[in-house]
Symmetry: C2
Subunit: 259 residues, 2 copies
DNA sequence: TAAATAGTGTCTCTGAGACATTATATT
DNA sequence: AATATAATGTCTCAGAGACACTATTTA
């Protein structure tokens, strides 16, 4: 640090990449955008962009999240000064809650063929995000089942090292379901215990024992809070409704079958 | 990414900062260096430095780790091409194993008053690291008890946001002791179960029940492996000796008392 | 002999796994 | 009526907490 010389030290570009996850059609899906220019033109990539001089990586991530998910950017921008990172809980307005957390920084010298780019990757989780909105560069955007991206023979190859990022992000999400109450982020409130159970089933790819799952969730103080009313429309009896509680960590953790 | 223009996009400097932890004199200690120039001249800071154009943040971290801990840099440099990141296990030579993992990236626009610096922080753990060696800029270096840095009234104020980094790093280390076998990284092999127990006691700041601790460690397949010989010098009977096993994750996790 | 440490044994209680049962809604 | 889901109950077993006890070494 002492001997920094701007003339000699080559500049790095710093970007953020976002793994934005949601559950749709009974599958864990991640938002991808189609690249409109080289390199990897026509390939799909995680949404992201450059970090501006005046903002932190976290602020850039929030901005990109807003652009890509259709949450009005101006609204978000006005709020930026009072964005609350309450244990990774980004309150965009009083209704929508989006979980956003830093994942890892990717910095291989050759990860971008054009230049030296260091990218800070984030994981975002939300229930029922609106359909993707084309960014200002009019890129195509769509949700893609994570399973299809990480299969032995992936349906598509992602640009840059984004396949690795998706893999790391999925592992982060899976393990966070074990020892935090993060699963409540994947369901719209109010939700039933079956809704919550389905999150675990889909993300883990294995079915926790439903009855034991109910017992566990209800035994953890502050995991969920019952609200008035009952579920509609299912075959079977009406289910009690819940919202997320205040507890963030689970101790002892939710148990996963094998590994 | 599409619309990058080097003329317009301001350069970022990218650095690595290292939280290098070891246990000395019954305390968890972290390596600090005294800053030889502004800003924060005379303050203590985490070791670190700029990422070179040809290297990743991980490679830069290994290089800095070598410089600051006195592991011969040339040796390490020759090995760099074949550095093995085997689940975060950096094998420097066939004897020394140093655990190195990425912690988090710090990117507040004003974290360095001179310029825009994004820093990728790492956590390193090792047993019995040699005494610090002055870097090429002849800075002072010393081990410092973590407890003194994070007290209500800290003994010293760290430069930049390094106090926050130390806090985050400590939390990472503490939680990793819960669900991984990382504690074996803090003791020199061969070690006794009491040695291992002492790691938990020191890092967590609370004493796990010794007898139950023994039972737990021995019940986890691959946590430790017994080796020939017995401990010397303690009051009391000679203790069996162990080395680290191959298992990395613990399931179910080690239990911590309260929080 | 006292004190500290190593190691084993055992009782209790919590919680996970597994399974059974009843009730309530839709088709 | 058949079926799916909601909710509760219960038996078993693994494992954590706590404590007792023996053995071995040094001061």
């Amino acid at each position: 640090m002492e001997n920094y010389n701007p003339k000699e030290y080559p500049p790095f570009a710093v970007t953020v990449d976002l793994g934005i996850f949601t559950i749709r059609d009974g599958q864990l899906q991640v938002l991808l955008v189609e690249r409109g220019g080289p390199p990897f033109e026509g390939s799909w990539a995680l949404p992201g962009g450059f970090v501006n001089p005046s903002e932190s990586a976290e602020e850039a991530a929030v901005r990109e999240l807003a652009e890509e998910t259709g949450i009005n950017f101006n609204v978000l921008n006005n709020i930026r000064a009072r964005i609350i990172f309450d244990k990774d809980q980004v309150k965009v307005d009083d209704k929508k809650k989006v979980h956003l957390e830093q994942l890892k920084t990717y910095s291989s010298p050759d990860r971008d063929p054009r230049m030296r780019v260091v990218s800070v990757a984030f994981v975002a989780l939300a229930a029922e995000l609106p359909d993707p909105v084309a960014g200002d560069d009019a890129r195509n955007a769509r949700w893609w089942p994570v399973e299809d991206l990480l299969a032995e023979v992936p349906e598509i190859e992602l640009a840059f090292d984004h396949s690795e990022i998706v893999k790391d992000a999925l592992e982060r999400v899976r393990s966070k379901l074990e020892y935090t109450t993060l699963a409540t982020q994947f369901v719209k409130e109010p939700f039933t215990l079956s809704d919550l159970w389905r999150v675990y089933k889909i993300v883990w790819g294995e079915e926790p024992h439903l009855q034991n799952f109910r017992r566990k969730v209800l035994s953890i103080d502050g995991f969920v809070e019952q609200v008035d009313g009952f579920s509609e429309g299912n075959t079977g009896p009406k289910a009690k409704l819940y919202k997320a509680g205040n507890t963030k960590e689970i101790q002892p953790a939710m148990m996963r079958m094998k590994r």
